[in-house]
């Protein structure tokens, strides 16, 4: 059966080719069903493989499918090869499962768009690339998928390319990601330099034999790549702009799957990370800072999709925090629950926009609770899940992160405290949005208000399925009682390391329960505050904003990071290239010298010149004369 792993990425590739090449001859219905079916076929294949995998002993759960040699030179060789182990199984199931629902939803959402076929072919191409990323058996296939998803992200952010801002956002995403990839690539070179291979097993099993600085450097370089793809400080700036893409794209690529690739990468190479405390700390701290920063920005944003975008950045920060304290299974657990509830919220937001003629400003919404009931109820579930309310999915995964941030040998009280604060902020900003959008008076434009309608079934059914997953998805891993998820993944993470190093260094079961209670209280406080401010006393937010005007402006303008980058990097760079390198150095200096010597040449040639293109004759003549002289010398000389 392992010989069929290739089928998983193959189906979406096929869908891409058919819809991409023949899409203009097909009806929307055919295109949509075909695109979705291909992802469903991948999902089904993955389910079958998953069950086969569970038949094996935990430590033997690995299928490898080698297709052919991609490139080989000297001692370097990279195969096109896939690996299906517990980690890739979880990733593949999330990608194809959530991906399938989003494909189905898109049939309704993209209805009538002139780029319908193009949209589905890109979405399939994305799924293909994402599957390569998580199935690759070596760093190079992972990188192939990594760049592939980046390409699709670029194509889909700029899907409505006629809007120059959208096209700009696409470029920004690609280029910022390339900065990350620069680090990733150098990491790959270094891995090959020290390990002589790019195969995961070869590299990871030998990681312990390398000096620590090598491992630290490699891990940090890979992490640079992760900060690009997973939108962490300092490369997160592209993700909020990426909301220019159609909403299903935001849900699939910029929330549930692609942006989690960095987390996956660190977990995949965890055997290296655990060898470097420095690298782990950097990951944890960057994750925590990003989570905090993004959460504060989300509080002031007025755009429904931007709130969700910053929320995604923040939640990804959580995942990195988990990975950074060595809790890899927990990071993946949160990755999965986040995929459920964030995809849900994005799609629900899309449903809101669908109802309001693509309005995204939450100040122009309100009172939608009863008008679009299904959307509201599913959004509500998502809100509880992300806030970490028991028993929704987010509670289990987020709480586990906070606990590990404290109890792990790499953790600390500060990690826990800040993490808990962020949990409160999260509950607050999310419910601020929910209350503003669905409760209170309607602030919808009159023209728009006439057309408010619930979305069709093809959109609401995926919402309901995701809401169900967001409700019960956390139950697969209940610490101490039912840690199935962790037990399933642990063989992957513990394969090359000593599990004893990961026993909680401090903390007891009692403390764990206390912490869980604290985070529940914090979450409820956040929701309660939001309710007070945005439902009961609506004048409060403005008052608070004007009382801390400086801070509010800073947050509202996203700490001016975009402006800063533009001013200190982008503009000077273009200017120097234009004014100095091109206009001065290339044209004045180098060409000046060339043209100067050309003038001298010309005056020499002028002697022989007979017509306006005399140079040719001179050249031909000199060639002939030279050749004759040469022959003469050689033969008679």
């Amino acid at each position: 059966m392992q010989d069929y792993i290739w089928l998983i990425p193959f189906f979406p590739l096929l869908g891409f080719l058919i819809n991409g090449l023949l899409g203009k001859y097909l009806s929307e219905k055919v295109i949509g069903i075909l695109g979705s079916a291909m992802v469903f076929l991948s999902f089904s294949t993955a389910v079958v493989l998953f069950f086969q995998l569970t038949q094996l002993d935990p430590e033997n759960r690995l299928f490898i499918n080698t297709l052919y040699t991609w490139m080989a030179t000297g001692s370097f060789s990279a195969d096109v090869a896939f690996r299906f182990d517990a980690l890739s199984a979880v990733m593949v199931l999330v990608v194809t499962g959530v991906g399938f629902l989003i494909h189905v939803y898109s049939i309704g959402y993209m209805h009538g768009d002139r780029g319908f076929a193009r949209f589905f072919s890109f979405l399939n191409l994305f799924t293909f690339a994402m599957l390569l990323l998580v199935l690759g058996n070596n760093f190079l296939i992972m990188f192939l998928g990594w760049e592939g998803v980046g390409l699709c992200s670029y194509l889909l952010i700029g899907f409505w390319y006629e809007n120059p801002e959208y096209a700009y956002a696409g470029n920004k995403a690609f280029i910022v990601n390339r900065i990350g990839d620069f680090g990733f690539l150098i990491g790959i070179f270094m891995i090959f330099g020290y390990f002589g291979s790019l195969n995961f097993d070869t590299v990871l099993s030998a990681a312990g034999m390398q000096p620590e600085w090598v491992i630290t450097t490699i891990c940090l370089l890979l992490f640079v790549g992760a900060t690009g793809k997973s939108a962490q400080i300092p490369l997160y700036v592209w993700l909020p702009d990426a909301m220019a893409g159609p909403t299903p794209v935001s849900a699939l690529i910029h929330a549930a799957t692609m942006v989690t690739a960095g987390v996956y990468m660190i977990c995949r190479t965890s055997a290296m990370y655990v060898l470097s405390e420095v690298a782990l700390s950097v990951v944890a701290i960057i994750g925590l800072l990003t989570a905090l920063m993004a959460a504060t920005i989300a509080i002031t944003s007025k755009d429904i999709k931007k709130v969700l975008a910053y929320s995604t950045v923040s939640q990804l920060g959580y995942m990195f925090l988990a990975a950074g304290v060595g809790a890899f299974a927990t990071a993946i657990f949160h990755l999965m629950t986040h995929a459920f509830f964030k995809a849900l919220m994005f799609l629900a937001a899309g449903s809101v926009m669908h109802a309001l003629s693509n309005e995204t400003n939450i100040d122009k919404m309100g009172g939608l609770k009863n008008k679009i009931g299904t959307t509201y109820r599913t959004f509500w579930v998502g809100g509880l899940a992300i806030s970490g309310i028991l028993p929704f999915a987010g509670f289990f995964s987020k709480d586990e992160i906070l606990w590990k941030a404290f109890s792990s040998p790499f953790g600390s009280t500060v990690f826990w405290a800040v993490g808990t604060l962020i949990a409160g902020l999260t509950a607050f900003y999310m419910w601020r949005m929910i209350y503003t959008v669905f409760y209170g008076e309607s602030r919808v434009d009159k023209e728009v208000a006439l057309h408010i309608h619930e979305s069709p079934k093809v959109m609401t059914v995926p919402l309901i399925v995701l809401a169900a997953l967001s409700t019960v998805g956390g139950l697969v891993n209940i610490p101490h009682y039912f840690p199935m998820f962790e037990h399933f993944l642990d063989p992957v993470f513990m394969k090359y390391i000593n599990p004893a190093a990961f026993e909680a260094s401090h903390g007891s079961f009692g403390l764990e329960l206390t912490f869980a209670a604290i985070s529940l209280v914090v979450a409820f406080t956040g929701i309660w505050l939001a309710k007070v401010m945005y439902v009961q006393r609506r004048e409060l937010p403005d008052k608070i904003a004007s009382s801390v005007k400086g801070l509010y402006t800073l947050l509202f303008n996203k700490y001016y990071v975009d402006e800063l980058y533009d001013k200190i990097i982008v503009k000077p760079f273009v200017k120097v290239s234009d004014a100095f390198f091109y206009a001065f150095f290339d044209v004045k200096i180098i060409d000046g010298i060339v043209n100067g010597s050309a003038k001298i040449m010309d005056s020499i040639a002028g002697v022989l010149r007979r017509s306006h293109s005399g140079v040719v004759q001179f050249y031909a003549l000199s060639l002939v004369v030279g050749a004759i002289a040469l022959f003469g010398y050689l033969i008679f000389g």
């Binding site: 006629e162 470029n171 150098i186």
Partner: protein, 511 residues
């Protein structure tokens, strides 16, 4: 293997076609085009057995033909190919018919002369890649420049004379130095061995003293460096490209530039190995400067064609860096990058040409929003752009990755600097693409654009096929060159140690 002199047939078939064209009346344009197309297509077909029956398990020259030519000076007609020249030959014959097809409606004066120039050019280029006699090589090298000069100077744009003269000056400086160096090597080796011969293998296998190697390396190297073009000898390229007609640009970028990098591999490295090691740091640094500088300058260009021209400086920098890393990955990566650049930049020039034929402008600001109007064009342009950026899964990545991987093993700093080039490549290409293709249509003329014709699609499809093929399955191509690169590296190392050991006879002979 077959008894037919396949290599010679391949080399001279285009020239025979050119001769036949001479007999056609000026007015028979359709017939002239058909003839040129058939001849160049036939050349490609004839060259296919070279690829398919090429033995990848040996570094020896294959399809060798060696006849006495001018016995008085020891010049032979000696041709043959190994893994280094094979792909160059294939690239040349592959692009041949595509170039003819691309010029179908583009030439409005003296079509016959144009087609003859193209065909003669092809013979010249094939000869350069196949020659194993340095005298023969030089003849082909020079012979090829004349039709190229005409193509730019006669069928070029408004500033064609300036561009052609610039091309000529640069090239002539290099050629003259190389000629002197060839003669010196010929006499020197002749004197030392008693055999006066221009035979490549004869000259290559004699190890000259380091001092002499240095001078000869510089003379050959300058000629090749101009052709590559390496920074700072690159300024002829943007002008030549901008003024040359599309077909000229495609040949220039696709094949001509590779003669420079090929020259280094074929002559400079094996003939002057010690000098090679001495100059390698300098060349590597220039290569990295070229990668970055080319990218930065490309970024600020207002003319699409000039942008693509500067991107060539950047891409060829990767090739040079790879060659001078003296690693398997770097060299094979450099070689495959030569092919890649021929495909992707060739295709970019074709695409720019197609839009120029419609709009008679290449200025970025004259476009914008074309994607909606001409979707087929957009698709091809996108794929080729991504190939040029080095997106994994397309050909460009394989070359760049291997070059950088190889370089990293020998010089971390240069590799890191060069790797940053992948960021800038995305910047200048995608920025240009956005300004040309995306956004709203702002100019009336652009609303009347027609999408690609069947002929144009037929020109681009074969290139895209290889762009994807090399990208997803590079091994067949890398496998063809492996043994030759192995052997070249082994020779380099052997010769380096040979000269270092004291009391070695070869040194004795040299001093």
């Amino acid at each position: 293997m077959t008894d037919l002199p396949l290599l010679s047939i391949t080399i001279f078939l285009p020239a025979i076609g050119a001769l036949l064209l001479l007999f056609l009346k000026d007015s028979m344009e359709q017939l002239q085009k058909m003839l040129a197309l058939i001849v160049s297509a036939l050349t490609f077909i004839v060259s296919l057995p070279l690829y398919f029956s090429f033995n990848s398990n040996t570094a020896a020259f294959q399809f060798e033909e060696n006849y006495t030519w001018i016995s008085a000076i020891g010049a032979n007609y000696h041709v043959g190919i190994d893994g280094i020249s094979l792909l160059m030959i294939m690239l040349t014959t592959f692009l041949g018919p595509l170039v003819v097809l691309s010029a179908w409606n583009a030439v409005h004066k003296s079509l016959k002369g144009f087609l003859i120039s193209l065909l003669v050019l092809e013979t010249g280029m094939l000869g350069v890649f196949a020659s194993l006699d340095i005298f023969l090589f030089y003849i082909f090298w020079e012979a090829m420049l004349i039709p190229m000069y005409f193509v730019i100077g006669i069928w070029g744009g408004q500033r064609r004379v300036y561009a052609a003269v610039k091309f000529f000056i640069y090239t002539m400086v290099g050629s003259l130095l190389m000629m002197v160096a060839i003669l010196f090597a010929y006499f020197y080796v002749g004197e030392q061995t008693g055999t006066y011969s221009f035979d490549y293998i004869h000259l290559r296998d004699f190890l000259m003293p380091v001092e002499i190697q240095k001078w000869l390396f510089l003379a050959f190297g300058l000629s090749f460096a101009i052709k590559v073009p390496m920074f700072p000898f690159h300024t002829w390229l943007p002008d030549a490209h901008v003024e040359a007609p599309t077909a000229g640009s495609v040949i220039l970028a696709g094949v001509l530039l590779k003669m420079g990098t090929y020259g280094f591999l074929r002559f400079c490295l094996p003939m002057f190995p010690n000098a090679t090691f001495i100059f390698a740091p300098l060349i590597s640094i220039l290569a990295v400067i070229g990668i970055l500088y080319g990218a930065w300058v490309a970024m600020v260009q207002k003319d699409v064609k000039k942008l693509v021209a500067y991107s060539s400086v950047s891409h060829l920098g990767f090739v040079m860096l790879g060659i001078f890393s003296f690693t398997h990955q770097g060299m094979q990566g450099g070689l495959i990058q030569m092919v890649n650049h021929g495909l992707s930049t060739g295709a970019l020039f074709l695409i720019v040409g197609m839009i120029y034929e419609r709009r008679h402008t290449r200025m970025i600001e004259d476009f914008g929003g074309l994607a909606r109007q001409i979707p087929i064009f957009t698709t091809f342009f996108m794929i080729v752009t991504l190939s040029s950026i080095g997106l994994p899964g397309l050909n460009g990545f394989v070359g760049e990755f291997l070059v950088l991987l190889g370089t990293f093993q020998t010089n971390v700093t240069l590799a890191v600097l060069a790797t940053s080039g992948v960021i800038f490549a995305a910047v200048y290409m995608l920025w240009m693409f956005k300004r040309v293709m995306f956004g709203p249509i702002t100019r009336e003329e652009n609303k009347r654009l027609t999408d690609l014709s069947k002929r144009e699609v037929a020109v681009l499809v074969p290139i895209v096929v290889f762009i994807v093929w090399i990208g997803v399955y590079a091994q067949p191509f890398l496998g063809k060159m492996e043994k030759s690169v192995d052997s070249l590296l082994a020779q380099l190392k052997a010769k380096q140690t040979a000269l270092v050991q004291p009391g070695n006879e070869i040194i004795g002979g040299g001093e």
